[in-house]
Every structure is written in structure tokens, then in C-alpha cells.
């Protein structure tokens, strides 16, 4: 686009602002609206531009998903987060696990099979960032999870911390949560990191069957025991062929 052809609409034509307001039905002043509509009837240039803006608006949700915002924004927690309450309060440091068949892992992604878990943290000072391995997280940080999966199933997210606690984060109890096939599915609710420091392994588990969370927790405990009580050396949970999983080791650190 060259500057000298940028201003190609004659004086008297409608500005993009006016056209935008027409597209989103926000031109509410009746005389102004009538004037704009009258002009559109006689100006092919503005009418064409209006159609162009409408077409762009229709394409927009496909171009840029809301998930693209997640790395930099923080949605207000919903009631469901409060319901998860106590269980979600335990997490001490977070990470991103990801599983999606892509050519390479992006920042904060852990890929394994067709399942991926990624995490985003909001620090008390308001900074929001994707969590990377060995991220400097601290008590009070809030964390959310994002899942990508190449098949529908039932999701559980567990944390196994340095104090040997196996905590279900999503869901906190009952049966695993139904999840659709799809990328970058941001889960409702957030987890506030507690004061437990040290290593924590976070597991994302997606199974074809809706299994009880308690069964997943029991598998987590067994795996921890087999690893001599160390989250650092834990291997996959024994869940059977209908499940896929990925895990991410993080280090919970004290206040900076």
C-alpha cells in the first residue's frame, strides 16, 4: 500500500469508522444513519468498502481464535473455579504439557501422541505468561490449563508434588471431564499456587472411557511409589490402552 494511494476515497465519502459502525450496528444517531445509508445508495466505492468490512468481520473468528489471546490476557475466573476450590488450591507450580502432532514444540508446549497440555500463569503483579519448563513460579501465582487433543475423550489433570500429594486439579472429584477433539481448549477456572515448594509433576490424561478421578489419583500414587516418592523420576501412569497422557515437571520456587 503506498501512501499516495491510501486516500483514494473522495471527500464526502464515508470513513472506515462510519462504515465500521454500520457493520456492527452501532450508528445509532438517526440523521447520521440516514445520511450514511443515503450515501451508500449512490456511491459504489463506499458500498463496496462496506461489503469488504462485513466479509472481514465474518471471517474474523476463523482467522484469530479467542485462544490466541490467552497468552496475554486473563479471563475473570468463573464460578466453576470456586467450586473446584480446595483441590485447585494445592498446585504449587505449573507448566505446559502439550500433545498435538506438530512438527515442533512451541514455547511452553509438551507434545506426546495426540494430547497436549499447556498452562498459563498470572503472577500477583499482573504479568501473564505461558509457563515454560523451569519457569520461576511462586506461591500466589494463578494458573489455568489449555488442552489440545486429536480425539474426544474424558480429561483429568493431576499434580504430584514434592510432599507426595497427588491432587486432582481438573476435575477435583467425581468422574473425568468430557472434552471434545480440538486444539487450544482453555479450561474454566484457575489454580492458585500454594506454599509447597520443590518439584511437581503435572499429568494430563485423556481416556476413551469416563473413569473416576479417584482411579486416576490411585494410579498417580502407584507411579509415585514406583519412582521412590520422587516426582522427578516418575514415569507414565498405568492407565491402559484407551488412555493417552503427557506430563511436565516443574519446579516450585519461593517468592522472588
Amino acid at each position: 500500500m503506498s501512501l499516495h494511494n491510501l486516500r483514494h476515497r473522495p471527500e464526502g465519502c464515508l470513513s472506515d469508522l462510519t462504515l465500521d459502525q454500520l457493520v456492527i450496528d452501532e450508528l445509532i444517531d438517526p440523521p447520521e444513519r440516514a445520511r450514511a445509508q443515503q450515501h451508500l445508495k449512490s456511491c459504489a466505492l463506499c458500498a463496496q468498502r462496506l461489503e469488504q468490512l462485513r466479509a472481514e468481520a465474518k471471517r474474523f473468528p476463523e482467522q484469530i481464535g479467542l485462544a490466541a489471546l490467552v497468552g496475554k490476557t486473563w479471563w475473570a475466573p468463573r464460578r466453576r473455579a470456586a467450586k473446584l476450590g480446595a483441590a485447585m488450591v494445592a498446585l504449587a507450580a505449573m507448566v505446559a504439557l502439550f500433545v498435538w502432532p506438530r512438527t515442533s514444540e512451541g514455547p511452553g508446549e509438551r507434545l506426546k501422541g495426540g494430547l497436549g497440555l499447556r498452562m498459563v500463569a498470572q503472577h500477583p503483579d499482573g504479568r501473564v505468561e505461558w509457563i515454560l519448563p523451569q519457569a520461576d513460579l511462586a506461591p500466589g501465582d494463578a494458573v489455568r490449563f489449555q488442552i489440545s487433543t486429536d480425539r474426544p475423550g474424558f480429561l483429568t489433570i493431576l499434580g504430584v508434588d514434592a510432599a507426595s500429594a497427588v491432587t486432582p486439579y481438573v476435575p477435583s472429584q467425581g468422574d473425568a471431564l468430557a472434552i471434545a477433539k480440538g486444539r487450544d481448549q482453555l479450561l474454566d477456572g484457575s489454580v492458585i499456587l500454594d506454599a509447597t515448594l520443590g518439584a511437581e509433576r503435572v499429568f494430563a490424561l485423556v481416556c476413551a472411557e469416563r473413569l473416576p478421578v479417584a482411579q486416576m489419583v490411585a494410579s498417580g500414587r502407584r507411579a509415585l511409589e514406583q519412582a521412590g516418592g520422587s516426582p522427578r523420576t516418575m514415569r507414565d501412569l498405568d492407565l491402559g490402552p484407551g488412555c493417552q497422557q503427557t506430563s511436565f515437571l516443574i519446579e516450585k520456587k519461593g517468592h522472588k
Partner: protein, 167 residues
């Protein structure tokens, strides 16, 4: 400050996002930077949701937030370029251009005074007339006209070509 809930954000993002993204693309001339701008603008919407909701028509407010953010990006680019230059590293090469070659508004904007930049964007990118710009910025029409003339004069010398006179 009261924060917006997710449903509101999603609704406004779908409603106003295309407008913000398109303007950022036009000003910055870079898709990646434009998407960053989209995110940053909506972060500001979230932080200043009350201002946003209080407006009878939020679009002009969003236009200004987007414009100011993009101008900040352009200023930051300038600073980085200056810093690299003063530290002896090769400055980013700007290819010589003939008037008929493409020249994005971002490149022109990076070389004009601050007080002219915002007005130039509304006039050349958004195709606003001088009355609309004056209303949006709370300036007199005369001031807007004078600044556009100043911009035109500088841009002509940068481009080496004549621009259409401001009416």
C-alpha cells in the same frame, strides 16, 4: 476496577476485533505485529472495561486505543533502530524506493513528528474527514487542517512525490 467477565470479553472481541485487527495491519504493515496489537488492545479493554462500556459508541474509543498502541510500537521500533545504530551494529537496511514502489504508512509514520502521526492515520488510513478527526480528538478543524498540511509537506519530501492537497 471492575473486571469484565469472559462472556462480555468474547462478545466484544467478536464484535470489535475485526476492526482493531484491520487498523493495526494498516498502520503497522505487519501481520504478526498486528495480532500482537489486537491482543494488547483487548487487554486494555479488559482493564478499562468501565470506560469502554460507558461510551455510547465504543468504536471511536477503540480507534484511539488502537492508534495509540500502534504508534507506540512504531516509536519503539525507532528507538531500537537508533540504539542499534549508536552501538555500531548495522542499522536495518531500508531499501531505496521510487515513488511508485510500495511504501507502507508505518515507514512514513516513523519519520514524522508525534503530533502529526495520529491525525495522519485517521485521515489516510481511516479516511476520516477533518470534521470527524476534530470531533474524535477534541481539536478545532483548523488545527486538524494545519497538521495535515504539515504532514503532507513532510511526506512529500520523504516520498519524493506530490500528494493530493488536503481540502
Amino acid at each position: 476496577m471492575k473486571r469484565m467477565d469472559r462472556a462480555s470479553i468474547e462478545s466484544w472481541y467478536r464484535k470489535y476485533g475485526p476492526m482493531v485487527l484491520r487498523r493495526a495491519r494498516a498502520i503497522l504493515g505487519d501481520e504478526s505485529a498486528a495480532q500482537d496489537a489486537l491482543q494488547e488492545v483487548f487487554m486494555r479493554v479488559m482493564r478499562r472495561g468501565d470506560d469502554f462500556r460507558g461510551a455510547a459508541s465504543p468504536s471511536p474509543w477503540l480507534y484511539r486505543v488502537t492508534t495509540n498502541y500502534c504508534l507506540t510500537v512504531i516509536r519503539d521500533r525507532d528507538r531500537r533502530r537508533e540504539l542499534l545504530s549508536t552501538r555500531g551494529r548495522p542499522e536495518q537496511q531500508v531499501e531505496p524506493h521510487a515513488p511508485e514502489e510500495k511504501l507502507t504508512i508505518a515507514r512514513v509514520l516513523s519519520q514524522i513528528p508525534d503530533e502529526l502521526r495520529e491525525i495522519a492515520i485517521y485521515y489516510y488510513v481511516d479516511k476520516m474527514n477533518q470534521d470527524e478527526i476534530a470531533t474524535l480528538l477534541g481539536l478545532s478543524r483548523r488545527t486538524v487542517g494545519n497538521r495535515l498540511e504539515s504532514f503532507r509537506s513532510i511526506a512529500q519530501s520523504l516520498l519524493g512525490t506530490r500528494l493530493e492537497a488536503v481540502p
